[in-house]
Amino acid sequence: MADRRYETLVLIHPEQGEQGAKELTNRIRSLIEDQKGSIGQIQEWGLRDLAFLVAKQRRAFYVLFEYRATPAALAEVERNLRLTDPVLRFVSVRQAENAPPTPDRTARRPEPEETDTSLDAGDTGDMESLGEEV
């Protein structure tokens, strides 16, 4: 079976601590490698605020895995993630073969340009007036 490019973003319970999160990251890495997947990169985003409570937690460790694996391997990795209690949530996405690897968080895109913000302002104005109609 042809292998594909995937990425999986995993949320780790904050009670694991920095150390526990590292260990779990290594465990997931070996999980992928056991399935004959080849890791592209692993990004640790660290403890991040959640947009809403997950398992009564406000924060979680985010770790992003980029790797190549077969679809069957992905299914097995996901099954194991579901069985791992400290993993709050995860999402796996198939990436395009020619997509560039995710840039490091420190090198994330800067603020949007001025033209964009002016468009934003006009948009919200529309939204408000529409809201009143309804």
Partner: protein, 95 residues
């Protein structure tokens, strides 16, 4: 069936006027992702996606943002992915 349709069209032309017209004045919105081809829609890019959410955390309709159908589709998928991993809210809560 075709005959039926013809009748209906005749009826509407009496009341509503001619077909679709752009309501109000204002400059035509262009899909931002079409205008800037380098812009990628990525569920991890919270800052970019956040701009397409209302204050309540709802996804803005393309009618307002001016996105083309194709990009609006991939945008909503990206926002929903971001929501499953709590990068973006489903709804904003007021404590």
């Amino acid at each position: 069936m075709p005959k039926d349709r013809g009748e209906r069209r005749g009826g509407s032309s009496k009341g509503e006027g001619r077909g679709f017209r752009r309501r109000g004045l204002g400059r035509r919105k262009v899909c931002r992702f079409c205008a800037d081809k380098t812009m990628q829609i990525d569920y991890k890019d919270t800052r970019a996606l956040g701009g397409f959410l209302s204050e309540r955390g709802k996804i803005m309709p393309s009618r307002i943002t001016g996105n083309c159908a194709r990009h609006q589709r991939s945008l909503t998928v990206a926002i929903k992915r971001a929501r499953t991993v709590a990068l973006l809210p489903y709804a904003t809560s007021y404590p």
